[in-house]
Amino acid sequence: MTEEAVPVVEPNAVEEPLDLVRLSLDERIYVKLRGDRELRGKLHAYDGHLNMILGDVEETITVVEINEETEEEVIRTIKNTAEMLFVRGDGVILVSPPSRTGA
């Protein structure tokens, strides 16, 4: 994350962790969820539980399957898209703001 590398020059740009999420409102963010799921979408709203409303979401589910014959692990990804999604906060592992080129 380039974001974390930038020193916080003034104390009131980001004062608490959720401020980072707040700054990402209306931006495309990356959300990692339990169960090997990832979401990329535009953050419309969030709350303190990290419940989120995402728009234009692309969901990626990673499935690991074991081939019974060769006992090899086959990793498969499933992609879904949703116009609008409510993400319940208890499944959220990580929220990442979009990386900035300008900053």
């Binding site: 974001e3 930038v6 020059v9 003034e10 009131n12 740009a13 980001v14 004062e15 608490e16 959720l18 401020d19 707040r22 700054l23 990402s24 409102l25 209306d26 931006e27 303190g48 539980h49 900035r100 300008g102 900053a103």
Partner: protein
Amino acid sequence: MSDSYFGFDTTMPPLNSDQLTAGTAEITEDELSKNFEAFALESGQDFGVYGYDPLADQLVETGDDYNEETFGNDITNIGDDFDFTQSNAKIADTIQKEEKIYVDRRENVPSDNNELIRQRPLFSNLWDDQAGIAVNGNGSYPNDPTTSPLMPESPISPSIWGSYHPPSTRKGLASNNRQEFIQFSAMNLTNLHHPSYENPPNYPPSQISPLPPGFGPPPVARVPTLEEIEKQLQRQAGQSSTIENHQLQRQAGPPPQSQLPPPMHNSPLPEKRMLSLAEVEAALLGMNSRPPPLPIYGQTEGVYREQETAFLEQEAAIREQETLYYERERKLREKQRKLTDMAKYNGLMTQNDKDYINRIQISQLVTDDPYSDDFYYQVYTAIRNRQTQSQMGPFSPNASGGGAGQERRHRNRGSESGMLKMQQQVLRIVNDARRKPKSTQLSLEGALGKIALNSVRNPRQLLQVSAKHTDTLQTHASPSGGTHHKVPSITLHGIVDHRKVLRSIENIYSAVLGLEELRRNQHPQSRQYSDQEREDKWLQEKYTELARKMWEELHVTDPIGISFQHPFISILSVSKGKKVIPRVLRHCNQDQIGAMIRILVANFETLDVCKAAIGGSNGNIKQSILDEVELFMNTVVPPLLQFVAEAPLKIVIGLLTLFIERNNIIWVAKSKVGLAFLTMFLSRAEILKQGGGAMQGLPPPEDREIMQWQESYNRLFSQLQNYFLSSFPPFTSNIDDMYVWQFLAAMAVGASMEQQHVLVTEIRERVLETVVQASRMPHDKAAHKITNVNLFLHALGLDASQLKI
């Protein structure tokens, strides 16, 4: 005897068939009583128990002198209330079939003719009797001599038959003691009512007269009795005719015989009293247009059949009623049971308690801030253009501003209803709540710490995430009157901190939302507080404070040139920053908008929609940038356009000059947004030059201003000369180039003859290419292309159709 249906001794002395068939007229009182005495000896039954007394002996058999008096003489007043046969015709078919079955069964039984004939009338007369009672007992007792308005002077009091129908017996009936009833009616009627058959005037009340109110068992309660009797009769009919059988029949049969309604047979006048049964029968018989069967025993089988039909019909109707009644009765009982179950809780709460609870509940629903508590409803109603005030009713805090007068009015008639009282109390609660903000904590003396008070509006907080945040917002807002230096500068050492830009945007949104909320509360529902002025002042202060904060966060007034990108431009470079602009501008005054547009124009080159939206030689622009351009055109440009469209020429000149001076016009003119701004200025100036400013009440531009404008225009033209074509997006791209034609048209309008010539020469190729291209396109697309070209050509007084390719 043991097979008696009702379990009592049904043995009766055998009747000889002569007696039975000879007709009632021949059976005298004496004979009958003798018969019964004999039977009583034989069977050991004491008929005296059943109330036979010699009253009947005194009856004058033929004296019907008082019939009119007794039964009312106005036969025309007979209503059809008791015409129970009205609907019987509907089921006549079924009944006839039933009867046929019955007759067939009868005829298959080996029995002598006499008996057959004898049994029939018994059977039918049985129905006659029982049905009569059933009908009479049917609730309203219209025939009761004491109550019937038709016979007010009736000398016969109900007490006459009191001895025959002692209340206890009746009660027994009411409690469905059918055995007793059957026994009672069978014996009693046999003994007593037979005479009445011949002496209607004196006797009828005791026999057919309706039961006294309250005594009468519901008709349905008796109907099963009829069915039971019928069953028994049928069973008996199926048996071989032994003496025993005779006796059984005697037991069951005769009562109905004697029960025959006297008036029908004996009295020439249709008696009021007999309406129930006589009318039914008469109507039935009348339907068949046959004379009423006078001597019962002398009837032919056909007549019996008719009678039977009639009674079967009645029976069906009654059965129907019965089921209905039972159902109703069951439900009623169920309800009653529940009520009694709950009755033990009755009176635990006083009306005060109930009101108190209602108040608590309602006060929880009342909100001081409907917009945040019930936002969607509020917006919905606003959209539906309804009078929210009237709709929200008296409980609405906004409608509750009736003040002391309203409250007093309520108090005056407060006792009228608990509801009014409650309303008034709720009003008080709401007003109190408004005066002192809800406390969320409570400190008790001696207690360590505080007790959190939770409510519907203020649930217990599990996370305290927003608390600190609001604090910081407060500290931002609190130093009122402070300069904008208090607002964190977005840049440090000339480098824009993107996060601070975002932070500023969020703060702008917060302020804008706050302003919008204030406006909503101000306008649609003009709040009427007792201290309205103070309230208004408070609102005004709050509004000004928020507007100031918003303005500071926009960083419009930050000096130009300190940072690489002006903070305001940075805000506009973020899509949510663009989106907020229309909402921001609603809370800005004209000066602020002017300042904003000047900053924008002065830093136009650095706008993302300008610098990033200029394609290279291949004209490829990223889709995301195109989206941003679209967004900018839809959000930022329209309100600014509106501002420019009302601006006097002086400002337009200033803006254009600034635009030319601060930006590389050739470069900017390659962007859609840049051209849009230029077009905006050019067309406004042209309108003002032609006196269009008069519409806004602006004085016509002075000559000096026009001179200045012309100077600026010439500067613009000379800079763009030889580069007009570069404004066009490459032909290969699918971008609609209408905005370029619009710009060229605006240029052409203000151009001198020479300038027009230069313009045409430069653009000529493009015009021709476009027209050629259009000729190869489908019609609608071609038309669009031609229209675009015509935008420019019309400004020169030309048309695409004049072009020869």
